[in-house]
Symmetry: C2
Subunit: 911 residues, 2 copies
C-alpha cells in the first residue's frame, strides 16, 4: 500500500478516527471522530504528523508526493463545498491549524481566513453582503499570516491599528468604519512589503503552502520546545496540520465563537464552563483581548444553539468517557464544532472528575484512573492560606478563580523580572500581567502564582496556570497596570514592584499583603488536624487511590527517617518503609555531640563509649518507626555519609585559626591549639570527592562497631515491639556495595548482632539483610551479590551519579545548560526521571542478574525516582516488587503504579 | 571414573607429570616428572590441591574417602621401601611438604623426619649406628612439628636450645653431646605439653594426619596470603601435600644438602649457582642460619655427586626448556633430587636467559618470551649509582650481589620500622637484618633495598629480593647488628638507625652514604646518552622485544603529553600516542597566567583574547608531538580537568583574606577586595565532587571556544607537518562522554575547526574524531555513541572510579584496608590491574556494543592499566586494537601483548 499522508473529513464521514492521534494529532483525530459521530463539523483534511517529520527530514521542503496528495484532497474539499480556492466567483476560505498528539494550547500558530486576497475580498463582501465583515476577515488574515508565516512582529501591525484608531479618534475596533479598515489593510500590506521586501502574496495556493510550512516550522520554535520540555513530550512526535473550511463567528450578532469545558477544570465541579464572544473570531476568546461572556449566557443570546451545544458536548463526554474541552463557532445561528479533546485539569478537578464520571456511569474506575496526571496530585498538597488568620486580611479585588491554591510573592510585572528575581535574588514572586501570552511561560513557571487583568477562564493564563498547577486569578478587571512605571492600582490602592501580594486561586481573591499559609486540606487530614469524613476532597482522594490499590502490582513504600515521617507515610498509604536513613538521626542537636565524640575519639575505648551512648537513642528511633508502620516491613540502612559531614567545615576552622593567629597568637595560643587539633582530624577525614570516598558500607567495614551498634539498636527495638505483641519486619540494608565481599563482611556483623540480641532478649524474629544497588559495579555483579543478599533496593540517585559521572551537588549549572532549548543535550533531568537508556539499562541488568541467582529476590527502588510517575512505569516494566517514595509522593506512586498496569494491558490488547 | 586425589611416584615411574601443576602443585609435578625421567628421587606420593579445597570446603576436615586413598598410597610406599610408618623394627620416616601451583619459597611450612617418636628414635639410632644423627632428627622434628602443626612459637624452642648451649657452655649446635640432645628433646616435649596441654603425639599416623592438615591450613595463613597478593596468585588454587621418603643430608660428612640454579638468577650469567651445607638438613640452607658454601665447592668435597648433579640439572634445563631452581640431598654420598622448578629471576636475568636459551637451542623464541615476567622489566629501568660520582664514595664492605640495582635509604633494623618510616614519615629506608624471614616481607616490600649479614645467594632475603626486583646484598659477614641499641658496626664504623646507607645489588658493595643515582643503562640508551650497540643489555632487551612484535596482535601506544615524553615513548617502541592530555601543557609556568586570565575573564571578549594567546603555544606542542611520532597516529584529548585546578586554592584564599582582615582591615582593603573578587570566581567554580563535576566534554560544551581553539591548534600543527612533507595522523578525542549528544556537539565544533583550518592552510589531511569511554553510561550506550565516533579509547582509570564509586584520590586508606590480609575484601587494587569481573564487564559491553554499530571501530585503552600485564591480557582477550601505556611501560605492554597471544594459542591447543 502506498503511504498515506493526508486524511479527509466531511460529508458525514472521515478517513481518520479518534485512535489516530499519533498520525492526525489530537485536533485532527477529534475532527475526524466528531465527523464520524455525525456532529456539525466544517469539512476539511488533516496533513499527518508523518508529513511534518518528512518535512523536517527533507531539510524544510515537503516531498512532492505529499504536496500532490494535498492537492487531491483540496480538490475533494472544493467539490464538497462547491467553492474553489482563489476563485473570484466562489472562493474557498480555510483555516490552517496545527495539532500535535498532545495539545499545546497557545503554543502553535493558527491562521484563519486563508484564501483571501484583494480579489476574493470583494467576492466575499459581495456574496455575504457584509463588506465590513469581509474587510475584518482580510485584515485579520494579513496580520496572522504576516506574524505567523512571515515572522513579522505583532507590534508592527498593532501599531498601525492603534494609529488608525487614534487618528479616527475611536476607542474600539468595532467603531472603525469600512473605509478605515480598507485603509488599515493597505497599511498592513505596506508593513509586509517593508518587512519582507515582497508584496503580500496574492496567490492563494502559495498562501496555503506557506501556511502549512509555517506550522511545520513552528513545531521547533522555542515556545513549543519549552512547553514540550515542561510537559515531557518527546521532541520527535511532529505536528499535524488541519485545513478546514472557514466558518465565521464574526458575521454579526447571530454569529459567535467560544470555547468551553463540559465541567469546571479548576475545581472539578459539575458545571458547564467556558466563554464566548459574539461577532468574533476564535483567537479573540483565548487571547484575552476582549473579556468574553460566561458560556451559560449563550442561553440568553442564542438559546437554540446553546441547547444544541449542551447536547453535543454531553454526547462527546460520554463518547470520549472524559471531560471535554471544545471549541465552537456559530455562523449566522448555525453551530459548528471545531475541536474537542480531553480537557486539561487541575489535581483537584482530576480527583472530582474521576469520582463523578464513575458515579454517573460515564466510565469505569480503570478508565477514570487513566484520566489523572499523577504529578497533578501534588497540587492537593500545596499550602492554603491559613484559615486562622485569613480573616485579618481584606481582599482588595476579586477575579476569576482560574487555578486553585494560595500564592504569595513579591509583585513583578514581566516574565523576565520573575526569572531574575526568583533565580538570582532567590525571592518568591507573583507575576501580574494585563494578559499572558506564550512568551511569558518562563516567568509563569518560576512565579508562585499569576494574576491577570483581562481574559477569562479559558484564557492563556488560566489554561497554563491549571496545567502547571500554579495558582491563578484571571480577568481581574479592577487591576490597572502601569508596567513602565513599575506600579499598578487595584481597589483604589497603588502598589509597586517588589510589594507583597497574595492571590487565592480557589476563590479569586486578591490581597495586598503576605498572608501566612497553612497545610492543604489533604495534609490536615493526614496530620489528624481534620477528620477524613469531614473532607469531601480527602474522601474522594483516598477513594480514587483505593481503586489504584486494586489494580497495581507494584507495592509502594516510603522513605522515612523519623517516626513522624513514618506516620505521614502510613497515612498516605505506604506499605512499609523502603529507606530509613539512620544518619539523619545523628544530625539531631542532642546527638551530634555524641557523634562528634565518636569520630574524634583518640582510642577504641573512647569511641566505644560514644557509640554505646548512641545506641539507646537509635533504639528509640527504630522503636518509633516500627510502631508507626504497624507491622509493615521497615528497611533500615546502616550509616552512609562520610564522617566529616558531622564535623565543622575545614575551611571555617582554617579561617578561625588564621584570624586568631593574626590577632594575638600568644593570648590565643590555647584556643589555636585546640582548633588545630580539631583541624587535623578534619584534615584526616577530608576528601576530594566525598561522594566516591569513605562512606556507605566502607564506613561499616572500617568501623564494624558502628554497624554492630546499629544492628543491636534495630533488634532491641524490634524485640521490644514483638514483646508488646506487635508485628515487626526489620530489613537491614547495607549501602554502597560494589563487591560481594563488602556485603558479606557487613552481613556477618549484622547476623552476629541479631543472634546475640535475640538470644539475650529471648525473642525470635524474622528479618532479612539486603543491599542497596547504587553503583554500576553492583549491577554488573548482581548475580554474585544476590547469593547472600535477601533483597535489593536500587539507589537510583547515586546510581545516576556514578553512571553519568554527575555529582548531584555540582552539575546543576551544567544540567541547566544541557536541558536548555539552545543546546538540548538532554531531554530530561536524569535525577528527576530515570534515564531509561543508560541508568535504566543497568537497573534492568541488576534485576536480571540478581534474580538469575535468587529467583524470588525482593527488589525495590528507594531513590527520588520512586515518586516520579514515568520512573514508576519503568520500574513496573522491569519487574520490581516495590517503589519507595518520599511520604508526600506516596499517592503519586500509588496512582502511577496502577496506570502502569493499565498501560501494560492496553499495550497487550494493541498487540 | 572415581575422582583421584592422591598420586604416587617412585620405582622409576609416577602417576603424575609436569603438566599437572594445577593438581599436584609445582613441587609434586616436578617430583613426578623427575621420577618419570629416571632421576634419583626418593619415592612418595602427592595429595592433590583438590584435596586441599575439599578440606577447606569441608570446614577443615578431610573427607574420609580421601583419607582412605592416602592410606592406600602409604601402604604402597611402605611396600616399596620395605619400611613401615611407626614400626619399631623398620620405621618409615617421611617429609611432608606443601607445594602449590606457583611456588612460594619460604612461605609454606615443611616438616621433616616425620615418623619419629620415642620408640622409632631408638630404632633409627640403632639402624644407622648414629645416635647423634637420630637425636638431631628427632629434636628437629619436634621443633618443626611443634611450630608448624601445633602453632607453638619458634622462640619457645630456640630459648631451650640457647639455654642448654649456655648451660653446657658451647657455642654451636654441633658441640652439643648426645646426652645434651636427649635432654633438649625432653625439654622440647615439655614445651609441647606446656603450650598445648597434651603430650607430643607418639602415634605416627596421627602425626602424618596432623602434618597434612597443617599444610592445608597454612594455605590460608597470612604470610602465604601476602605472598599471593604480592604475586597476584589467586587465593582459591589450593596447595598440594607431598609425602616423601626421608633422605638425610645430616648423616655426617659424606652427607649434604643444597639448593641451586642452573644459571645465575640475579645477573643472568651462565654459571652454576647455588649453595650447600654438609651434614645438614634442607631448611638450614634457606633459613640462612649457617652461611653455606658456594655450590662449585661441592666439586672439591664430593666430586662424583657434583658431576652427577651437573649432568642431572643440565638435563633438567633442557627438559623443562628453562633455567631450573633445584634442591638436592646427598645421603652418604648418594645424590637424591628433591625438587626442580623454573627458577625465579630478576628482569636482567630474564632478558639474558631468553637470549642465551634461544642461542643455545634450548628453547624457541616463543618459549623464551613465556619465561619473562613483564613486570620484572621495570627493574631494568631502576636508577643505578651515578658512575660520574660513584668513585668518590668508598665501600665499607662487600656481600653477595643477590639482586641487582642501586638502593639508598635511611637505615632501619626491623620490618615494622621500615613500614612506619616509609609510610608515615615518607622516608626512603634501607632494611638491614641479620637474616630475613617471611615475617619481614611487609618491610622488604616498602624498603629501597635489603642488606643481610648471613645467608647465601638462595637465602630468603636473596630469593625474595629478586622476586620483588628489590636491590639486595646478602651474607655481608662484616656486618654486626645491635638491633636493640639501634646501631651496627661495619668495616670498623658504627652507624645508627636513620643514617644514610647505600647498597649496590649488582656488585654487592655497601657504602655508608647517600650516593646520587643516574638513569639505568637502558634509559641512557633511550635518552641517547649511550649508544645501543655499546650496551649488551640494551641489545638483548630490544632483541627480545622485537621477537614480541612478531607475535603480538595488540598495538602498543604511549600516553605522552609533551614532545620529550613522545620521544622516549618512540624510543621504547610505541606505535603512536594513545593519549595526549592537553591540560598538562596548560600547567607550564609560562601558560598558567594565560589560562587563569581565560578563566577569570569577565566577558567573552576578554576570554577570547586569552584563548587566542594560548593557541600558538598549543600548536607548538602538537607540532612537536607529531614530529616525534614520525607519522604514527597521535590521539589528542581536548581539555579535561575542572577549571578550578588552574586557580589558587579556595581555602588558601580564605585564610589570606581572614589574616589580612584580622591584621589591618583598613590598610589592607584594596588587597582584600582583590582577593575577594578572585575568591568569588573560585567559589563559582568550587565543586563538592570535582571528579563528577564540570570537566571533560562538559567544559568543551559550555566553552566551545576552548575546544575550537584546541582543534585549530591541532590542525594548524598537522598542516605544518604535512607541508614540510611529514606524515601526520591526528585523532581528536572527546573526554567524559556520557550521552551521544555530548559527543555529537563537540564533534561538530572540531569538524568545523578542521574544515576552516584546512581550507585556510590549503591542506587536506586524514583525521578521526573519537571519544573516551570512561563512564559506565558510555559503555551502556556505546552502540549509539559509535554512530558518530570513529574510535573509542577506554579510560579505565575514570571508569574504575565511577564503576566502583571509588575516588582515586581518596580511597587509598580504604583500599589498603580492603587489600589487607585481615579483611581481604579485594584481591587486587582495581586501579593497578583491571577488575575483570566488574569494570572489565563494562569494557566488554562497550566493545561489543560499539562494534555492533561500527564493525571496524578502532578501540584502545589509555588508562594506567595499559601498562599492567594482566590487564593487557584482558584487553587482548576482549579484542581491543591497542593499549596505551606510560612511555616507561611500553616494553612491558609489548611483552605482555605477545604473551597474551601465546597464552591464547596454548589455551586453544588445550581445548
Amino acid at each position: 500500500m502506498e503511504h498515506k499522508f493526508v486524511y479527509f473529513f466531511g460529508g458525514g464521514k472521515a478517513e481518520g478516527s479518534r485512535d489516530m492521534k499519533d498520525i492526525l494529532g489530537g485536533k485532527g483525530a477529534g475532527l475526524a471522530e466528531m465527523t464520524n459521530v455525525g456532529l456539525p463539523v466544517p469539512p476539511g483534511f488533516t496533513i499527518s504528523t508523518q508529513a511534518c517529520n518528512a518535512y523536517v527530514a527533507n531539510c524544510g521542503k515537503l516531498p512532492p508526493e505529499i504536496d500532490q496528495e494535498i492537492g487531491v484532497n483540496l480538490k475533494k474539499l472544493e467539490e464538497l463545498t462547491g467553492q474553489t480556492l482563489g476563485s473570484a466567483e466562489n472562493p474557498l476560505l480555510v483555516s490552517v491549524r496545527s495539532g500535535a498528539k498532545f495539545s499545546m494550547p497557545g503554543m502553535m500558530d493558527t491562521i484563519l481566513n486563508l484564501g483571501l486576497n484583494d480579489v476574493t475580498l470583494e467576492t466575499l463582501a459581495k456574496k455575504t453582503g457584509n463588506r465590513r465583515f469581509a474587510l475584518d476577515c482580510y485584515r485579520r488574515f494579513i496580520q496572522m499570516f504576516g506574524n505567523v508565516v512571515l515572522g513579522i512582529e505583532k507590534d508592527k501591525f498593532e501599531h498601525k491599528l492603534t494609529g488608525i484608531k487614534a487618528s479616527k479618534k475611536v476607542k474600539t475596533d468595532s467603531e472603525l468604519r469600512d473605509t478605515d479598515l480598507q485603509e488599515l489593510i493597505a497599511l498592513y500590506q505596506d508593513v509586509v512589503k517593508e518587512q519582507t521586501g515582497s508584496d503580500f502574496p496574492q496567490d492563494t495556493h502559495q498562501q496555503l503552502a506557506m501556511a502549512r510550512d509555517a506550522v511545520f516550522k513552528s513545531w521547533n520554535n522555542p515556545r513549543a520546545a519549552t512547553y514540550r520540555k515542561l510537559n515531557n513530550i518527546p521532541h520527535d512526535l511532529g505536528t499535524a496540520v488541519n485545513i478546514q473550511l472557514m466558518v465565521f463567528g464574526n458575521m454579526g450578532d447571530t454569529s459567535a465563537t467560544g470555547v468551553g469545558f463540559t465541567r469546571n477544570p479548576a475545581s472539578g465541579a459539575k458545571e458547564f464552563y467556558g466563554e464566548f464572544l459574539t461577532n468574533a473570531q476564535g483567537e479573540d476568546v483565548v487571547a484575552g483581548i476582549r473579556t468574553p461572556m460566561p458560556i451559560v449566557k449563550l442561553n440568553d443570546v442564542m438559546p437554540a444553539a446553546y441547547v444544541e451545544l449542551r447536547q453535543i458536548t454531553d454526547k462527546l463526554e460520554r463518547h470520549y468517557k472524559d471531560v471535554q474541552d471544545f471549541e465552537f463557532t456559530i455562523q449566522e445561528s448555525k453551530l459548528y464544532m471545531l475541536q474537542t479533546r480531553n480537557g486539561k485539569r487541575t489535581g483537584f478537578a482530576a480527583i472530582r472528575f474521576a469520582i463523578d464520571l464513575v458515579r454517573e456511569g460515564i466510565c469505569t474506575k480503570e478508565e477514570a484512573i487513566g484520566t489523572i496526571d499523577p504529578a497533578s496530585l501534588n497540587q492537593l498538597l500545596h499550602p492554603i492560606f491559613d484559615p486562622a488568620v485569613r480573616g485579618k486580611y481584606k481582599s482588595v479585588a476579586k477575579g476569576l478563580a482560574a487555578s486553585p491554591g494560595a500564592a504569595t510573592g513579591k509583585l513583578v510585572f514581566t516574565a523576565d523580572e520573575a526569572v531574575v528575581w526568583s533565580e538570582k535574588k532567590k525571592e518568591k514572586v507573583l507575576l501580574v500581567r494585563a494578559e499572558t501570552c506564550p512568551d511569558d511561560i518562563h516567568g509563569m513557571s518560576v512565579a508562585q502564582g499569576v494574576l491577570t487583568a483581562t481574559g477569562g477562564m479559558t484564557s492563556h493564563a488560566a489554561v497554563v496556570g491549571r496545567q502547571m498547577g500554579k495558582p491563578s486569578v484571571v480577568g481581574c478587571g479592577a487591576l490597572k497596570i502601569d508596567e513602565k512605571a513599575g506600579k499598578m492600582t487595584i481597589g483604589g490602592k497603588t502598589v509597586k514592584k517588589g510589594d507583597w501580594i497574595s492571590i487565592d486561586g480557589t476563590t479569586g481573591e486578591v490581597v495586598l499583603a503576605k498572608i501566612p499559609t497553612a497545610p492543604s486540606e489533604i495534609l490536615q487530614v493526614i496530620n489528624g488536624k481534620k477528620k477524613r469524613e469531614d473532607s469531601e476532597l480527602a474522601l474522594a482522594f483516598f477513594e480514587v487511590l483505593s481503586w489504584c490499590d486494586d489494580i497495581r502490582r507494584l507495592k509502594v513504600r516510603a522513605n522515612a527517617d523519623i517516626p513522624h515521617d513514618a506516620k505521614i507515610a502510613f497515612a498516605f498509604g505506604a506499605q512499609g518503609i523502603g529507606l530509613c536513613r539512620t544518619e539523619h538521626m545523628f544530625f539531631a542537636e542532642d546527638r551530634l555531640p555524641l557523634v562528634q565524640k565518636m569520630i574524634l575519639a583518640d582510642d577504641p575505648q573512647e569511641r566505644a563509649e560514644a557509640i554505646a551512648q548512641l545506641l539507646p537513642l537509635q533504639r528509640e528511633d527504630f522503636y518509633g518507626l516500627f510502631k508507626e508502620m504497624h507491622g509493615n516491613p521497615v528497611t533500615i540502612r546502616t550509616l552512609d555519609p562520610p564522617l566529616h559531614e558531622f564535623l565543622p567545615k575545614r575551611e571555617e576552622l582554617m579561617v578561625k585559626i588564621a584570624t586568631l593567629k593574626a590577632k594575638d597568637p600568644k593570648k590565643n595560643k590555647p584556643k589555636i591549639e585546640k582548633l588545630q587539633a580539631l583541624l587535623r582530624r578534619v584534615e584526616d577525614l577530608h576528601e576530594f570527592n566525598p561522594m566516591l570516598g569513605h562512606r556507605g558500607c566502607r564506613l561499616g567495614i572500617t568501623y564494624p562497631e558502628l554497624t554492630e551498634m546499629q544492628a543491636r539498636a534495630i533488634f532491641e527495638a524490634a524485640c521490644r515491639v514483638a514483646k508488646e505483641g506487635g508485628k515487626v519486619v526489620p530489613e537491614i540494608m547495607i549501602p554502597l556495595v560494589a563487591h560481594v565481599n563488602e556485603f558479606t563482611a557487613q552481613r556477618e556483623v549484622v547476623l552476629r548482632a541479631a543472634k546475640e540480641t535475640m538470644e539475650r532478649e529471648g525473642c525470635q524474629l524474622e528479618f532479612t539483610i539486603g543491599t542497596m544497588i547504587e553503583l554500576p559495579r553492583a549491577c554488573v555483579v548482581a548475580d554474585k551479590i544476590a547469593k547472600d543478599a535477601e533483597f535489593f533496593s536500587f539507589g537510583t540517585n547515586d546510581l545516576t551519579q556514578t553512571t553519568y559521572g554527575f555529582s548531584r551537588d555540582d552539575v546543576g549549572k551544567i544540567l541547566a545548560y544541557y536541558l536548555s532549548d539552545k543546546h538540548k543535550i538532554l531531554d530530561r533531568d536524569p535525577f528527576e526521571s530515570i534515564d531509561e537508556e543508560g541508568v535504566g539499562a543497568l537497573v534492568r541488568m541488576g534485576v536480571q542478574k540478581g534474580r538469575s541467582t535468587r529467583p524470588n529476590l525482593k527488589i525495590g527502588v528507594c531513590g527520588e525516582h520512586g515518586g516520579d510517575a514515568a520512573s514508576v512505569h519503568f520500574f513496573h516494566k522491569v519487574g520490581l516488587d516495590y517503589v519507595s517514595a518520599s511520604p508526600y509522593r506516596v499517592a503519586i506512586a500509588r496512582l502511577a503504579a496502577a496506570q502502569a498496569v493499565l498501560d501494560e494491558k492496553k499495550a497487550k490488547m494493541g498487540d
